[in-house]
C-alpha cells in the first residue's frame, strides 16, 4: 500500500455518521451527498477538501449508524486516510472494507489544521512535516491486511471467489 501525504483536516470528538452522510440526501447521488458531507461540523469541508487530504479526529470518530455512505462520502471526496483517537465500530469496519485506511492515533491533538502528514498505513507510521514529529501507531490489523491491500472487501472477495475458497 502506497504511503500517503496530505493536508490535515482536524475534527473533535464524536463526529457521527449522520454528519458525514445526512439522511436528507439518502436518495440523492453520491456526488450530491458528498457535497453535504460534514457540513454541520465544517461548512467548507466538502468544498475545500482535496484528493489526498487526511482527516485527523478525536474520540469515537464515526459513532452512529451503519450507513456505509459515511465512509463512501469521504473516499468520494478523495480523503486518503482517517486518523482518530478512536473509532465507532461499524464506521471502522466500513472504512477498511472500502480500502480507506483508518488508524488509531492517540496523539491526534498534536496536529493543526493544514499540517502536512505523511502516513504509512501498513507500518503504522505518521509523520508531521511541520513539526518533524514521528508517531508509531497500530497499523492495519493483521487479519485485515490482505483485504485492505487488495483495495477493500469487493476486490478481496473477487480474489477469494477466483480461488474458490468461499
Amino acid at each position: 500500500m502506497k504511503a500517503i501525504e496530505g493536508r490535515a483536516w482536524v475534527f473533535g470528538d464524536n463526529i457521527n455518521t449522520d454528519a458525514m452522510a445526512p439522511g436528507l440526501y439518502f436518495k440523492s447521488s453520491m456526488d450530491e451527498m458528498a457535497r453535504h458531507c460534514l457540513e454541520t461540523v465544517d461548512p467548507h469541508f466538502a468544498r475545500d477538501v482535496r484528493p489526498g487530504d487526511v482527516i485527523v479526529a478525536g474520540r469515537n470518530f464515526g459513532v452512529g449508524s451503519a450507513r456505509e455512505q459515511a465512509a463512501m462520502a469521504l473516499t468520494h471526496l478523495g480523503v486518503a486516510a482517517v486518523l482518530a483517537v478512536s473509532f465507532g465500530r461499524i464506521f471502522y469496519r466500513n472504512a477498511l472494507n472500502f480500502g480507506l485506511p483508518a488508524l488509531t492515533f492517540p496523539n491526534a491533538a498534536t496536529v493543526r489544521a493544514g499540517d502536512v502528514l505523511r502516513v504509512q498505513p501498513v507500518a503504522g507510521r505518521i509523520e508531521n512535516v511541520r513539526t518533524a514529529a514521528v508517531f508509531a501507531v497500530p497499523g492495519i490489523p493483521a487479519h485485515l491486511m490482505a483485504m485492505v491491500e487488495a483495495g477493500g472487501l469487493m476486490p478481496w472477495l473477487k480474489v477469494r471467489l477466483a480461488k474458490d475458497t468461499v
Binding site: P22, G23, L24, A66, E68, M154
Partner: protein
C-alpha cells in the same frame, strides 16, 4: 469442566466452531440469521452480487424488511421499494416483510430470534435482537455483502460489561429512561464490549422493554447488547407461535464468568430522563428542561413506537388533549402494533387527543419519511438519536425521551414530567 464463560463467549464459540473463545481473539463466525433492510439491503448489495457474479449463500437465513423508505413518497423511494421486492423474488427470500413494520421489531413479533443464535443485520440498531438472549450486531452494507456471499463474518471477541439494575421504577419511568441515563453515565464509546443487562429490574421487564435497552446499546457504542434468556424470553417466543428449543435457557453467562466491569444501578429513584440536543449522552432529569417549548412531539422508531410504547402514550393522553401550537405525530412501529392498538382502544385514545397518525416505518427518525422538522423547530421524540440534522433541518433541535415523557410534553406544549399526569 470448562472455564466459566459469558453468554457472548458461548455464542461466539458455537458460531465459530471452537471449544471456547477469549476476548481479543479474532474469529470467523457462521451466520444463523441475516437481517437486510431496504436502506442498506438489496439496493446496495445486489449491484455488488452482480459485479461478483454470485448469488446469496442461503435465502432461508435471510430476513428482508422494507421499512426505511415506506411508503414511497417520490419516484426514488418507489424505485428502492420496487428493487427490494424484485430482490426477494429473484433470490426466493420467503421471509420478506414488505411495509409491515420496522425490521428490528418484526424479528421479535415473528419470533425469528432465539437464545444462542448468532445474527447480523445491516443496520446499527440490530443490537435490539439481543433481548432474546442471542448475539446480534449491526454492520454496514459492504460487510453484509460479504455475509450474503459467504455466510460468514469476522468478529473480535468482545469483553462483556455487565449492567445490573435493581429496584422498582416509579410510575412513568421505563427502560428508555435507563437507556438515556446510561448514555450519559457510561458514555457513547464502549467499543470492544458487549453490554449484558440484568438484575431484578430487567428481569421484571417485558421483552419489548428489554429491546429498548439492547436497541440503545448502539448509542452506547457497544459491539452489541443482550439479556440472558429466561421465562419472559420463552413466553415471547410462544406468543409469536414458536416452540422454544429444549436448551433455550442454557444460554446464560456462567455464575462466575469474568466481566470487564460490573455496574450496579438502582431504578428506584431514577427520574424520567431527557437527552438535549445534539447527543443521546447529553441527558439528565427531565425537570431541568421544563421551560422548553415544543413544536412537535414524535412517537416513532424501532425503539419507541411498539405496542407497549403506544399504550404508554394512551395512558397519558386519556381524557386529555394535545396543547394548541404543538403537534403530536405517531408512526406505529409495525402493522401488528397498529392492529392491536386499534383493537384494544389505544389508538382511539391517541387520536381523540388530537394526535396525527403517520404510516408505519422509520419515518422522520432518520429524516427519510413523514414528520421531518423545519429550521429552528423543537421536537421531543421517542426515537434514539438526536444528532444535528438527524430528523430534518440542521438547526432543528431534538430532545429524546420515553413515550410517557413525549406524550406528557405534547399535552403541556413544553417539556413535562409524566409522573405529574400519572398519579
Amino acid at each position: 469442566m470448562p472455564l466459566p464463560y459469558t453468554l457472548t463467549q458461548k455464542i461466539l464459540a458455537r458460531a465459530a466452531g471452537r471449544p471456547h473463545v477469549s476476548p481479543g481473539e479474532i474469529v470467523t463466525c457462521r451466520v444463523d440469521l441475516a437481517l437486510l433492510l431496504d436502506s442498506g439491503g438489496p439496493r446496495r448489495i445486489w449491484p455488488r452480487l452482480k459485479e461478483l457474479g454470485v448469488g446469496v449463500w442461503d435465502p432461508d437465513r435471510i430476513v428482508l424488511c422494507s421499512d426505511h423508505f415506506t411508503p414511497a413518497v417520490d419516484a426514488e423511494s418507489a424505485a428502492i421499494l420496487q428493487l427490494t421486492r424484485e430482490f426477494a423474488r429473484h433470490f426466493g427470500i420467503q421471509r420478506f416483510f414488505d411495509m409491515r413494520g420496522i425490521g428490528h421489531v418484526l424479528l421479535a413479533e415473528q419470533g425469528l430470534l432465539a437464545p444462542g443464535m448468532f445474527a447480523v443485520g445491516g443496520d446499527s440498531h440490530s443490537s435490539m435482537g439481543g433481548a432474546f438472549g442471542c448475539f446480534m450486531a449491526g454492520f454496514g452494507a459492504i460487510e453484509m455483502t460479504g455475509v450474503v456471499v459467504t455466510g460468514e463474518i469476522w468478529i473480535q471477541v468482545p469483553e462483556t460489561l455487565r449492567v445490573n439494575w435493581s429496584g422498582r421504577f416509579a410510575r412513568g419511568v421505563v427502560a428508555k429512561d435507563i437507556a438515556l441515563f446510561l448514555c450519559r453515565t457510561l458514555g457513547m464509546e464502549n467499543g470492544a464490549s458487549v453490554l449484558e443487562y440484568g438484575g431484578e429490574t430487567v428481569r421484571n421487564m417485558s421483552i419489548w422493554e428489554r429491546m429498548v435497552l439492547t436497541n440503545m446499546a448502539a448509542e452506547l457504542g457497544a459491539e452489541t447488547g443482550l439479556v440472558e434468556a429466561d421465562e419472559v424470553t420463552l413466553a415471547a417466543l410462544r406468543t409469536a407461535g414458536r416452540v422454544p428449543a429444549a436448551d433455550a435457557l442454557d444460554w446464560r453467562s456462567d455464575p462466575d464468568a469474568s466481566y470487564s466491569a460490573i455496574h450496579d444501578f438502582s431504578a428506584t429513584d431514577l427520574p424520567p430522563q431527557i437527552a438535549a440536543p445534539d447527543s443521546p449522552a447529553n441527558s439528565g432529569p427531565v425537570g431541568a428542561y421544563d421551560t422548553v417549548r415544543i413544536d412537535q412531539a414524535y412517537i416513532g422508531a424501532c425503539v419507541g413506537a411498539k405496542l407497549s410504547d403506544l399504550r404508554m402514550v394512551a395512558e397519558v393522553l386519556k381524557n386529555r388533549s394535545v396543547a394548541r401550537g404543538t403537534r403530536l405525530l405517531v408512526a406505529p412501529a409495525s402493522t401488528q402494533a397498529m392492529t392491536e392498538a386499534a383493537a384494544d382502544g389505544t389508538l382511539a385514545t391517541i387520536t381523540a387527543a388530537g394526535a396525527y397518525i403517520l404510516p408505519t416505518g422509520c419515518g422522520a427518525c432518520a429524516a427519510l419519511g413523514a414528520g421531518v422538522l423545519a429550521e429552528n423547530e423543537v421536537c421531543i421524540s421517542s426515537t434514539n438519536r438526536n444528532f444535528r440534522g438527524r430528523m430534518g433541518a440542521n438547526s432543528a433541535q431534538v430532545y429524546l425521551a420515553s413515550p410517557y415523557t413525549v406524550a406528557a410534553s405534547a399535552v403541556a406544549g413544553r417539556v413535562a414530567d409524566p409522573r405529574e399526569l400519572l398519579t
